[in-house]
């Protein structure tokens, strides 16, 4: 299986994540798209690890998962707090942070 297929697959997933981040207004869905992008990077790292026969990049994937878990915990706490304040998860409401 050529490495190009995996590069194209993970880049397609990454671009779908970017499109979702730009298209949606729901903060939770934007978070899920960020998870999608992290997973696309993980897939590419595992493919390169298989290609170069090197376990270090799989350790790197492991650390990305650790950071993603911590990020989700804090991010969802922020979303819950925002919902408690303004009763919506629409990110356009956060416009008022500018003023």
């Amino acid at each position: 299986m050529p490495i190009q297929y995996y590069i194209f697959l993970s880049f397609a997933l990454f671009c779908i994540g970017i499109m979702g981040t730009l298209m949606r207004r729901n903060a939770i869905i934007i978070f899920m798209c960020i998870e999608l992008m992290l997973n696309a990077v993980n897939l590419l790292l595992v493919a390169f690890s298989k290609m170069f026969n090197d376990p270090s990049s799989q350790i790197f994937v492991f650390f990305i998962m650790v950071v993603a878990a911590a990020e989700v915990a804090v991010g969802l706490a922020i979303i819950v707090m925002m919902y408690r304040k303004v009763h919506s998860v629409d990110i356009n409401i956060l416009n008022r942070l500018k003023h």
């Binding site: 490495i3 997933l13 799989q58 969802l76 706490a77 356009n92």
Partner: protein
């Protein structure tokens, strides 16, 4: 076309169609379910590349823990499909165009790049838990310990942020007078 390639294309089609379902479905609960589908197909790819440990961790951590957290938050907020305000058509169209153009640019750049790698179909044992554990605890002990501090701070931070405030701020009281 042998079994490996059939499985590869099957998992690829599943992953991309589920990822499109995540960003296109109106209901957030459906988005979470599609994202779980994507994670399972990515785990299938890991198993095809003989990274069993990461496949299991992906299912346990992502599809198990993180997605359950998302589902809990969505159900706690009782979000329905018609609650979510949509961006205007123009902004949605611009998002699709810019994502697609980024994809095309990288595709064109990668077409000329000389990456001539071939993933061997023979099983290698670098993805097994014994080798990964040896690498982790011989070469990457310091990041491992630092990540424990990261987890501790994330846990404390989530609790501090999510804690209910005893007195609502006056600015928000003006916006929502009926909020207790």
């Amino acid at each position: 076309m042998d079994l490996f390639e059939i499985l590869f294309w099957l998992l690829t089609i599943t992953a991309i169609s589920c990822a499109l379902g995540v960003i296109l479905s109106r209901n957030p609960v459906n988005s979470v379910l599609f994202l779980i589908g994507t994670f399972f197909s990515i785990s299938g790819h890991y198993i095809l590349m003989n990274a069993q440990f990461l496949a299991i961790v992906n299912i346990i951590v992502y599809a198990g823990a993180i997605m359950v957290l998302f589902l809990f938050v969505i159900m706690l907020m009782n979000l329905n499909a018609d609650v979510e305000p949509q961006k205007s058509r123009l902004v949605q169209f611009a998002g699709i165009i810019s994502g697609g153009i980024l994809f095309l640019v990288i595709l064109a750049a990668l077409r000329d790049a000389k990456i001539n790698g071939e993933l061997s179909k023979t099983a290698s044992d670098i993805g097994l838990i014994k080798n990964l554990g040896k690498t982790l605890f011989q070469n990457y002990v310091l990041p491992f310990e630092v990540s424990s501090i990261l987890f501790l701070s994330a846990m404390i931070g989530a609790m501090v942020i999510g804690k209910k405030e005893t007195t609502p701020s006056p600015v928000m009281m003006k916006k929502n007078p009926n909020q207790n």
